[in-house]
């Protein structure tokens, strides 16, 4: 095979590897992250102190997965006691995303009533996986 043909094969292989990695990361729940010592004011304001867990969804305009995530999370928050969902458009306030270490939208932060980060999800969350991970932080009623 010529060098050019090998290069085509290599490019296809790189694409396949990246595709697999992205699929693996999409919607994964990540625990142990920290939103930093101080939440950005916009996030702090979005927090519902009456809820055990607030899902703060960071979105941007022209972001199709953000819409899918909004539908999923607002439905979830409507069904699960102690869970709230708020969406924060960071299109024109990228410094909020930067301070939270968020590089893509949608990213959803699950914050407890004090504002501490419980977990975060990049991309469209997987409903069951997210609910399972949130359960220890929610009042024990339904879900």
């Amino acid at each position: 095979m010529s060098a050019g043909a090998w290069a085509v094969v290599a490019a296809v292989a790189v694409t396949a590897v990246v595709a697999v990695l992205l699929r693996w990361r999409e919607g994964r729940v990540r625990v142990g992250g920290s939103s930093g010592p101080e939440l950005p004011e916009a996030v702090r304001a979005a927090l519902d102190p009456g809820a055990a867990v607030t899902l703060v969804q960071l979105s941007t305009t022209f972001c199709a997965p953000c819409r899918h995530t909004r539908v999923l999370l607002s439905d979830l928050a409507g069904r699960v006691a102690g869970l709230r969902h708020v969406e924060l458009d960071v299109t024109n306030q990228p410094e909020v995303a930067t301070r939270l270490g968020v590089l893509r939208t949608p990213t959803t932060l699950a914050l407890d009533a004090s504002g501490a980060e419980v977990l975060r999800v990049g991309g469209v969350p997987k409903r069951d996986v997210l609910l399972e991970a949130l359960r220890p932080h929610l009042p024990h009623t339904n879900g």
Partner: protein
């Protein structure tokens, strides 16, 4: 710069498949002329208007009427920036192939091919991501409101 309107995101992915085919053909044939043509196309889209992309027109006339309508729209600015990145890679590759620095041509073209394939197959536009990261740091790139 002429105003580009938000686009159906499936259009750029359709274009990316054709771009991938062109770049693969360049690698298989080593034709600097074909790569130069691709560089011109990237340049037209990046520096003048996305409307000059013939594959976009092909998408609108041949594909869009046959697929489900979507309300999803993509911002044009990152797309144009990405075309500009493609232009640089295609230009470097053309220079490589045309001057006998074949290795340079192969490296630049295969990098562009990987980026085009990622866009086509996965929907990940690397150039757009770079643009979005840059926009955080360079306020003048921010969308005029």
């Amino acid at each position: 710069m002429p105003k580009d309107v938000p686009v159906d995101p499936r259009g750029p992915r359709f274009s990316a498949w054709i771009t991938s085919a062109v770049l693969a053909a360049v690698l298989l044939t080593g034709s600097w002329r074909l790569l130069a043509a691709q560089a011109v196309l990237f340049g037209l889209c990046a520096f003048i208007s996305l409307k000059l992309n013939p594959w976009g027109h092909l998408y609108r006339y041949a594909v869009q009427p046959r697929v489900k309508p979507t309300a999803e729209r993509e911002e044009p600015a990152p797309l144009r920036f990405a075309q500009g990145v493609g232009f640089v890679f295609a230009l470097v590759g053309t220079i490589g192939y045309a001057t006998g620095l074949t290795a340079l041509g192969v490296v630049a073209t295969s990098a562009a091919l990987a980026a085009a394939l990622l866009n086509a197959a996965v929907g990940l536009c690397l150039g757009c991501e770079v643009f979005l990261l840059l926009r955080r740091r360079v306020p003048s790139l921010a969308r005029p409101q």
